[in-house]
Symmetry: C2
Subunit: 577 residues, 2 copies
């Protein structure tokens, strides 16, 4: 009893926040008689609170972008308010694991209020959906999204000085008929839980008496549309669930199960290195997962999915038990409305500049999946660039002039650097004047200058819609906000091209830290920085450790690890809850 009382007291002290650094060693006593030691540390800084005339920053969304902004923004400088229909942050890369019960939904979510609490509670959170962004009046209109009855005022509006739009995207159906009605998506916790129930449903249905062989088979036909990382990971998880756990509970049904992955392109995981893509395809073939590459889904009815062979236009139909639709993302309606208002109506995705500022309205920032950075093109600014470099207005550029101007140009136009790498030259002078031009006296006219750089913009890179990009953008923006006043007088960015002086901040630059593709059966593939490729079981262990370490809190980390342990020991659960 003494140990337990100590334990309890410790845990209470631990949970009630103190401003000091905490360190707690927990004696974890289990009935099995074993003792486990877990080390825990958490640091917390003490901010003095001052509420005088702080500018209002409103953050929409609690996904990767919104949450990393929140974690890093300095609340003593701004009055931060968060609006989101989800009062938690979700670790999306583990969502496919939730669908099959390798990890519990609750383990990968962290309440926003816990994150806020770590910042001394200076952030307000409203659980509501944003209905409309009104950039003219600097307001957002919101509605509480509670399922239970609400009396009186449901809607309210929040004023802002700065607005951070980080509401993510919706699933893209490409307007295929029947998809919304009959397919599962995989974007939210609810989706994952529904998929999980649905898998169990298919097995229980196929197991009912009085069914023909064909009927049983159709019910156990699992179809995944989209061969991207999410679809592939779900297919792999499902295969594991069935072969490791369900086969023993439904032995008669095992041979009837079929998993199909439908992909319009020629390969699955096409965004990865070819070696990974081929490895995945081979593994799936070995596992008996049916890969239908080069097929486009044209219709989904309540019983069948219809697809067209891309090569010859032949149409095939496939009865199914469950479909998971995972073909990419599309813009949310509220963003489309905003785009109309600010003159971006002809675009498909909301555009921001390289500092994440929404083009066409002031003090509104957009990050994560809901926007793309519209990289300024070199050719658009080519005359201005030439004029700046040509300080004496001689109408021509010498290598010397270019050298002086080098600084900042590659930061402002990152495609320049990629183009130079592509051309295998080391700097701008080499590119413009050739390998021996450095010491020469060759002078470039504006036409020569344009001609040399005409293909640069073809190397403009668009950022992928991943958690990594969103998180980096959130952190970047928070840092900018924290230094806003300072940088007003002491700008750190590259020189302005179409104006004088410098930009306040460096533009956002994405650092790719690698990407995983778990393939099931304790196999994974990974693309690591520096074009490294890693495939196999060790990569799966790398996956475990990276994903455990990337959790936003120690709580999540412990929960996720203990979920993995539970799965190792007891297998996945088959209860339909």
């Amino acid at each position: 009893m003494k140990i337990l009382s100590f334990f309890e007291r410790s845990s209470r002290n631990f949970r009630h926040s103190s401003p000091y650094s905490k360190f707690l060693v927990l004696l974890a006593v289990s009935t099995g008689g074993g003792i486990g030691l877990v080390a825990y540390s958490d640091a917390k800084s003490d901010h003095p609170s001052s509420d005088t005339k702080k500018k209002k920053v409103v953050v929409l969304g609690t996904g990767w972008a919104g949450t990393s902004f929140l974690k890093d923004v300095d609340c003593t400088k701004y009055d931060v308010q968060v609006v989101s229909p989800r009062n938690y942050f979700m670790f999306t890369p583990l969502l496919p694991s939730v669908t099959c019960g390798s990890v519990e939904a609750r383990s990968i979510v962290e309440p926003v209020r816990r994150i806020i609490n770590k910042k001394n509670g200076d952030i307000k959170f409203w659980e509501a959906e944003c209905l409309k962004i009104d950039p003219k009046n600097k307001k957002v209109h919101c509605r509480s999204n509670h399922s239970v009855h609400v009396d009186g005022k449901k809607e309210f509006s929040v004023e802002y000085d700065y607005l951070i739009v980080a509401i993510g995207a919706r699933a893209n159906t490409f307007n295929t008929p029947g998809v919304t009605e009959h397919c599962h998506f995989l974007k939210e916790v609810d989706d994952a839980q529904r998929i999980r129930r649905s898998v169990m449903d298919c097995f229980e249905r196929a197991n009912l008496p009085d069914l023909s062989y064909e009927e049983r088979k159709n019910k156990l036909n699992f179809v995944i549309v989209g061969g991207g990382p999410t679809g592939v990971e779900f297919a792999a998880e499902l295969h594991d669930l069935i072969n490791e756990d369900l086969v023993r509970l439904y032995p008669a049904l095992h041979d009837l199960v079929k998993i199909s992955v439908i992909e319009a392109g020629d390969h699955i995981l096409s965004m990865f290195d070819k070696r990974i893509s081929s490895f995945a395809e081979e593994k799936f073939h070995r596992d008996g997962i049916d890969l239908k590459t080069g097929y486009m889904v044209v219709n989904v009815s309540d019983k069948e999915i219809t697809m067209k062979e891309m090569q010859n236009g032949k149409v095939h139909s496939l009865p199914y038990g469950m479909i998971v639709w995972s073909t990419g993302i599309a813009t949310r309606p509220i963003i489309l409305d905003l785009m109309k208002e600010i003159g971006q109506a002809n675009r498909r995705v909301l555009a921001t500049d390289e500092w994440l500022r929404v083009e066409g309205c002031e003090n509104v920032f957009a990050l994560g999946d809901c926007a793309t950075i519209q990289q300024r093109k070199v050719m658009e600014d080519i005359t201005a660039i030439f004029n700046i470099a040509d300080k004496d207005n001689s109408g021509t550029l010498t290598a010397d002039k270019v050298k002086k101007f080098l600084e900042g140009i590659c930061e402002r136009y990152p495609q320049m650097e990629i183009y130079m790498k592509h051309k295998q030259v080391s700097d701008l002078v080499d590119l413009l004047y050739g390998p021996n031009g450095k010491s020469g006296t060759k002078e470039l006219s504006i036409e020569d200058f344009k001609a040399a750089l005409t293909e640069v913009d073809s190397k403009t890179k668009f950022l992928p819609a991943t958690a990594q990009v969103a998180a980096q953008q959130g952190t970047y923006l928070a840092k900018c906000f924290n230094k806003m006043e300072e940088r007003e007088h002491d700008p750190e960015g590259p020189p302005r091209i179409r104006a004088t002086g410098r930009h306040r901040f460096h533009p956002f630059r994405y650092r790719h830290l690698g990407q995983f593709a778990p393939l099931g059966g304790e196999q994974a593939a990974a693309e690591l920085p520096g074009d490294w490729i890693s495939i196999g079981q060790s990569t799966q262990w790398l996956w475990y450790s990276v994903y455990a370490s990337k959790q936003v809190s120690w709580r999540n980390r412990m929960l996720v690890i203990s979920d993995w342990m539970r799965r190792f020991i007891f297998g996945r659960d088959s209860s339909r809850i």
Copy 2:
């Protein structure tokens, strides 16, 4: 990596069932660097399978009664089929803990197929709802209850030789208007999860901007109707959730929260000993939980709950944020239909005899909350009893004759024993002839006999609708089924009163093992066998250990314990999922 590979291999071996007893020591490696040892053992017997002409036993329901029957029935003797809309067994006593996140829903459920698998898979399970019991044709009509689309045949029927009805009961609303629409019940996993979301909803709603003080207060008014063990435990859990965890996340709202318990009787926990009931009431007063005893709810609207003071008939209204309705159980419609068909239409609850056989139809058994045992009354059989005892038909009974007949009479009529205890006599002779009548020659006429026993039946005990009763009934019935053939020739029960010979089996006798009432704040009360009472923190630890040990599988046990640990360490989660 070596440790991990060992771990993985072990776990696979472990999970793939082998017919032998297993023992596995797991090295639980966590990132914290700690090592935990957990001992695990599981035994499994090897039954030879023989499918020749076995009688069909159909079990309806996978609750306490159905599952304990399944666990103990000998599948080599019967062709067992189970029909239930729930493909899992749920440990109901922990359901109130799920509502507030002290325990996860998944930890307290065990898939039926896992239980079946331990019996070598000789049991068939159909995930379906039973729509109609047809005792004339010995059939049950069922319908698959899947939420996803089902093609073709949804309904099917199952034939039986023996039917075990164990489908439980529904919540009793006493036909109070508005209850079904606006209140939460607490019977299923879904209910608990909905309540959990609803609590978080209330907090998030009360926290929205632009609300008045009154509006916030109303939204944080949590009302529990019914002061039984479930209602009281939920109130206690809710109080703990709010005071231990939510207070830090919503500091501004803490003073607005109010928890009320409405009970029509004079006391809460009235089925417990008075000391427990008073202790609970005092603790709730200290905790600031509003106890409204002596109030009956008469109406529930979308905003207010209306109740009548029992003493003076005054009507009060109370605005609320959430109501949990927990006032007892009522008979399910399908059972009411069956009752009409078998001549029990004028009863409120399905009646069985003391061997759990449904009165009025053959080979149908009912157990758990869906039926009550109709104890045969002594006075109904009084003449038959007298005649049997009076072997020589002299018309009078001597003490000797009664002594010979003693055997069996108390088993057949357990109220006799309670009555004797009440009268403080040690046996039947003392009761009939007085303390000195044993050696006397006093002879009893049938009128004397009747007069002496006329109050016996007032001591008939009805069994409470608890998990304990249901589980014991399931085990009892399984044992009867296992010995069915044997007992045909060698009956073990008491002598038949209105026929010759003996009953095949002993009638069902309930052994009360005690009952817990967790009261929150690490305090619990317990009624233990032998009229012992235990109250306080040590009782809470007893509660932890009893509930951990009572889990149906090692898996559940470990999950529940690790949930408790998680709660101790990290507190409860406030995410709205």
